[in-house]
Symmetry: C2
Subunit: 150 residues, 2 copies
Amino acid sequence: MFDAAGEPGEGGFLAELLQRLRVASGTGEGEARGDFDLLAPYVLGRVRGRAMDAPDPDAFWRLEVFYAAVGAAIERRTGVPCQPMLRMFREGHGRLVLVAGRLVVSSRSVGDVRRFGFDSIGALADAGERLVAEGTELVLRYPDVAHHAP
Amino acid sequence: MFDAAGEPGEGGFLAELLQRLRVASGTGEGEARGDFDLLAPYVLGRVRGRAMDAPDPDAFWRLEVFYAAVGAAIERRTGVPCQPMLRMFREGHGRLVLVAGRLVVSSRSVGDVRRFGFDSIGALADAGERLVAEGTELVLRYPDVAHHAP
């Protein structure tokens, strides 16, 4: 979430997401390529502008990075490492689970991965933070399962 | 497990595995292609005879069918559907999880999927039944997690 100063808060979902996007794009903090540019591929205005009949090799990657950031924020709050697993059954369709120990902290069906996006950066941050909150709650509710050896 | 008569027991792991292999091979029960032939690709003598530098498109499939059979046997005992999810990180390496609701009932790292095999059909049956027993125990220990909506 962007805090009062309009900056992504320390250790939250958006900070984790930006960190991964920066690493992937090879840009450091404070470099020319701003946070908004890095997050733009998650915003639906851009998503809708995409040619939906064209394959998008980055679509899976964006989805996984989103869930990796959710997992990192859950780990920061609970100390339990989370690993995203994406399984595609046929082109663009599949299922994503975020696994902590023996607990699935998040699970979603993926209809068309190319349509994965949000109305705004605020909506992206809210969706991520909601998943972080839900996952954290599950880890705290089922600690034995989450700490179970994989 | 083969019972006293040397037949795979009703509803156990091996019966579930054979059912899937029969469907995939297009052979019915009692048809010419016997159970031993269907199970042979899981037996290490055959595995060791494979050219290990050649890609094996059936290797992932065999691993998934093995875990699908484990999951079906767990479902038969507990009533909870199980879904295998295989994630390959790079060629031949990855992780497989068997998910029931929000519970990971089985999880394994896959080193080289082409080497997935057993010393004998008995060892294959034992390994499958052990995973079924472990998974069933986990479902019974954490019923809330296993019955949690995905």
